[in-house]
Structures are given as C-alpha cells and as structure tokens.
Symmetry: D3
Subunit: 143 residues, 6 copies
C-alpha cells in the first residue's frame, strides 16, 4: 500500500470583523468580547493553513493536485474574504466571526472540494499569538 502523507498549503487574506451576536444583550456581548466588540470593527491579516492527507501516487510522487487546490481555495476562500468585513458575509449572518467559527466555515466550504485525498485540518492564524485548528471527518454542520 502506498504511504499516506499530508501537505499543508498556506494562504492569506486581510479582513475586518467585529465579535457580536444578536442572541445576547449588548452588555453581555461587551463582557464576553471586550475590545473585540467595538462597533466600528477592527481587523487582521489572516493566514489559513489547509492540510490535505492522501495516498502517495507512486508514479508522480504527489498526493493531490496542488494547482487545482490553490485555484479552489483562491476562488472559495481568498476571493470571498480578502479585503472584506467578515460580519457582512452570508456565512456569518447567524455566526460570530470568531477564529473558531472561521475555521469551521472554511472547513465546510472546502471539505467536499479537495481534488484528491481528503481535507485533514484547517488552521487559522489570527494574530502572531492566536491560532485555531479544526479537524473533522465531514461537514461540521454549523453552516
């Protein structure tokens, strides 16, 4: 059986966001989210890590089609979120724009679109010291 490997590709986008949910009163939002609840929003340089696991194609030495993967992530993730305010995105109408939810949303947007192999993990680097990871087998069902 050919070895199973993983490849992690890194992508970047810049976006604004505000942590706030209509499901909670304003003062509770303020208590929970603190300065991230500022109504004018703030923003980040997000780095997204897409990890694909697959069997090695022993002829080519590849586990997935990286060019197609890049095109898919560019079309579905980077173009969608780059230079946008995440709170205005349809995916976040019922979800706060936390790193946790962003990782789940990206997982859901990509999990059925991996050219070959399977999506193993989504990483979201929000700041130099704040990093989120989501590992699943199928749709996380939050979308």
């Amino acid at each position: 059986m050919p070895p199973v490997m993983s490849i992690t590709r890194t992508y970047a986008f810049c976006a604004a966001h505000r942590l706030h949910t209509e499901q909670l009163p304003d003062d509770v939002n303020q208590t929970i989210f603190g300065k991230c609840n500022n109504p004018n929003g703030h923003g980040h340089n997000y780095t997204i890590q897409v990890t694909v696991q697959g069997e090695l194609d022993t002829k080519t030495g590849l586990i997935t089609d990286v060019n197609r993967l890049d095109q898919i992530v560019q079309d579905l993730i980077v173009t969608r979120f780059d230079h946008q305010h995440l709170n205005f995105d349809p995916a976040f109408q019922a979800l706060t724009t936390t790193g946790e939810n962003l990782a789940s949303v990206i997982w859901d947007l990509l999990v059925d679109r991996i050219p070959s192999g399977r999506l193993e993990k989504i990483g979201v680097v929000e700041t130099r010291d704040n990093f989120f990871e989501f590992v699943g087998d199928q749709k996380s069902a939050i979308l």
Copy 2:
C-alpha cells in the same frame, strides 16, 4: 564622546481601515485604491517599529529609558489604535489611512515624547510583504 547607538522596539495592534478620500470622486477612489476602497472596510495586524537613537550612558549602558518608552507608546499609540477602525480616529479625518500616513501620524505623536535620545525612524509593517518607513528630523507637519 560616548558611542551613538539605536534601539528598535516593536509593538502591535489590530485595526480596521478603508482607503478613501472625500477629496476625490468615488470612481477615482475605486481606481486608485481598488479592493482597499471596499466601503465595509478590511483590516490588518499592524506591527510598529519605533527606533530611538541616543548617546550611550556609559554608566548604565543604556541609551533611553525603555520602560518609559514602552509606557508612552502603549498610551499614545497602542491603546489609541488597537481594536479600532482607523478611519474613525481624529488624526485621519483629513488623511487617508495608508501605511504612509499611519507612519507619519505615529511619528508626529511620538517625536516630542521620547524619554531620552531622539526618534530616528518609524516603521509600519502592514502585511507580511508590505512595509513603510518614515525618517524625519522633526514634526512631519501633516497633523
């Protein structure tokens, strides 16, 4: 004469902004600023480099009071801009929120407040691949 040295301290804040000026029609704003002109704004993890040059105090081996410098930058820059939308800041009411203007504004806010030595350079890292530097002798006069 004691040697002249420089120290560079790095600070970080997260902010939203939108590149847009009322001095130009909307379509010209769009042409010049492209995706950075998105009305909802976007954002960055800004890293600020403050370089202070000074004569070495041969007794202490220091050129400035780093604790006071940190406190000043914290009070005047980080607290002011962190988790804010730059376009709402008074300093940017007549200025676009480009990295160039941000470097100038930070220069002006700090140049007279350095505990000892003199402000030599302000660096603004906006993204991994986009970096601005401003070197002046006095107030840049844009504020």
Copy 3:
C-alpha cells in the same frame, strides 16, 4: 453535537538555566549535557504554546474564555519564570531544567486551571531549532 476545536495561545518569557543533576557525578553531567552544563548558566527566550481543546459554544462561537486563560497563564507561568533562573524555582529542585521537564511542569501547573475545555498540548520553543511537545490526559505526575 457542537464541533470540537482547538485554540493555541503563545506566551513568552526570558530565563536562565543550567542542565545539571545532583543524581549524577560531575563528569557524567558534563558528558551528557556538554556546554549546557556550564556552571554559570546560559539562557533562552522561551516561547510557550498552550493548546486548549473544547466544544464550540454555538452562541458565542468560542471554546474557552481567552481573557481568563491569558490571566491564568500570566499568573502561573509567565510571572513565575520570566527573568528568572529556572534552577532556583521550587519545581526544578529535583528536576533538570530541560525543555522536556519544563513542558511537563507547565502542563502540571495548568492542567486543572483551564477555564473551559481541556488542556490538549503544551509546546516549548527553546531555540529557533529546538521544540518540545507534551500531550497528556491528566497530571504527568512528575511534580
């Protein structure tokens, strides 16, 4: 069931240490630890990665209380070790100050103190090219 996610927060402290154990003769210490056995000690800029895993709170989009986590790590780890000599810390009276033991000690200090979710992993970056990880379910029992 809500998705399970992880968040990794990064913290830093600077400390001195010396690799040496009273349980072994001096020449064996020297053989095993080499230049790290220098009696005057040396030091590092340590970076600590604290990974917490938890169920997503679907209302807030969070898996833990990051502000409390930061405060706990600041109080229990950073304040304790920053600008200290690790060999003088009570935790290391019977333990060498290797990256391995440091990871275990930090695990033990934090494992019962995570505000919500559970401690998944402790990472210790000792130098640019030297990194330790400890993953456990409960107290590692070395303290």
Copy 4:
C-alpha cells in the same frame, strides 16, 4: 510510568531539483508539474523537522541523545543533500523529487537510526507556504 514527550529538531539545506519522471511522456510531465518541470531545474531552501518521541529519562530529563541525533541527521541528511541537485541522488533515481518523496526518503534514512525513542514524524518545509509531513510506524518501503 514516565511521561512520553516529543522533541522536534530543525535542520536546513539548500538544493536544486526538477519534477520529472521517465514513467510518463514529456507532455504529461509538463501538464502535471508545470513550471517545476523546467529542464534546467530550480531550487529551494529546505527546512527539515525531525520529531522524536520517547519516554522521559527521569534522571536526566531527556528523551533522546540530542548530540547524537544531530550528528546522525548531519551525516545522513544534511551532508548528503546540502548544495546538491536532488535528481542526481541515488534515492531519487526511480522517484520524483517532490516534497512528499523527500519526506519519505528522509523517514527511511532515519527511522532505524534514532539514538533512543522512536522517529515520530518528518516535516519538510519547501517554501514559506508549502509544507509536507510524513508519519509512519516503520519503513515506508518506497526506498
């Protein structure tokens, strides 16, 4: 039972390579590998992460002999590949020089040579945004 830990050591080498296999016609090579198929080759600063897992020696606080590990990786990996063209290496006579195959080859070269503990993972950082990982229990059998 003593805790089980892991240590990751990072090593670097610079090498040229070309993605091409004699098992496929030239035009298929060109389609699959694109610009990486350029006959003159191109190159990278490779960073290799060697993760060793082991039981903590409670006397020394170590899980492996790092000096011997470094010497082994230096002799078997760095000296062999640094400032070389990977396609000329015997290991790659029947294998393409993809990051996937490079991770497998390094796994096979090191798996039986770890001084104590066991090889847990090989990471290959090919570019800033392209990273490969191989995790196995034994020889991957591609060599």
Copy 5:
C-alpha cells in the same frame, strides 16, 4: 514640502544556481566557491525586497502606484527568475550568480521602471542567515 517616505514590497521566487566563472580555472573556482561550485547546481527560495522612496501625495496618502509596481516586478523579475536556473539567464552570462550580482541585476532591471518615486534599495534574502543589499543612485553599470 510633503514628507518623504519609503515603502518596501517583498517578492519571492525559487531558483537554482551554481557559483562558477569561466574567468578563473576550475580549481580556483572550487577554492573560492566551495560547495556552491557543485556542477549540478543547488538552489534557494529567494526573497526580494524592493524599496521605493518618494514624496507623499497628500491627497491620496501614497508615494507610488503599488499595483503598477507589483505588475512591473512580477513581469521583469519574478516571471523571469521563478523556477529557473539563474546561470542560464542572459543577465548572468558574464556574471556569477552570487547574491551580490543578483541584487545588482535586479537594481538595473528596475531602476528606470519605478512608476513614481525612485528606487532606493534592493534587498536579496538568499537564506535565513544570508542577506544582500544594494543602494545606488543610478544604473550600477554591471549589465
């Protein structure tokens, strides 16, 4: 007078090269260039820093047209050198492919093409620990 600022944009390409000159006998090449003289070549992930200095346009808050600058560097530098062997490039037929010469060549290719402002500096990061800078007022005349 408007303030003078600088912007540094970072670009990346991967290339092979070999340090060797026909102007010197083979054994002298070997002595001077050591392992970099290996006939099969080796390679690097090059990072290029292009620093442009200019007067601030007080209306837009910009010192140059970044989109045009990016397009020019993409066309003249990245497309030309990415996934190539530098020794086969016409610019290096009479020049060794050292970091010094690469910085000079890039300077010469860009100095007359800056959209506005002037080229202030070219930086070439060859490896993590090896960095070259060239600062000039006009063509360096090596091309």
Copy 6:
C-alpha cells in the same frame, strides 16, 4: 568603479546575563533595570547581524570572503559567548551587559578582523521585540 554592496550574515548564541553595575547603589540598579536586575540572572537567544560593506569583485561577484568571515565570527563571538553568562566575560567587567554594550563589544572585536571590505553595522536581536544597532567608523573605544 565597481558597485559597493553590503552582505549581512546572521549568527546565534544563547547566554545568561544580569543588568547591574557596581558604579550605582543596589536600589538604583533595581529602579533602572527592574526585573533585569534579578541577582540569579536570566537569559536570551541572541541573534547577531554582521553587515560588511565592500566593493564588488567583478570577477567573482563577491564583496568579502564569507567562509573566513564565518570562521572569524565563530571564533571571536559565538564560541566566546554561546552558553555562557555574559557578566563573567572579561569584556563586561566594567560594562553592563545591555544590548547596547553587547553591540559595541562585538563591533570592537570584529572591526579590525573583516577579511575584505569593512564592518558597516552590528545588529543585536535580544528578543522578538527588542533590537539594537551600532554603526561606527572605527573602534567605539568602550573596550
């Protein structure tokens, strides 16, 4: 005239230190140096940047002999300070071990030993956010 270029080589060492001077009373030391005055010392992973400027040798495309430079810095700086306590070094008997003084000391140790070209700048990275630079024409005369 051949172009003038600069090369920056980066070196690393790990060391302990304590900020304290016998020229000042203990309480003044404590006020000025704060937690850095802790008698047990603390430590850092120091990164040293050595910038050499020189005329391009148009035959080789080099401005200095990098192998000799590396050997000199290894012998005079890295071997001397790595895994040491800086306060025990003869150079610091009358000097505090600040980043400023460390940069000056390294300048003085290297300025007359550059194989070709001239020493242009010494950079000392003490922590991720703390960086010192010294630029001189000759011995800084603090040694």
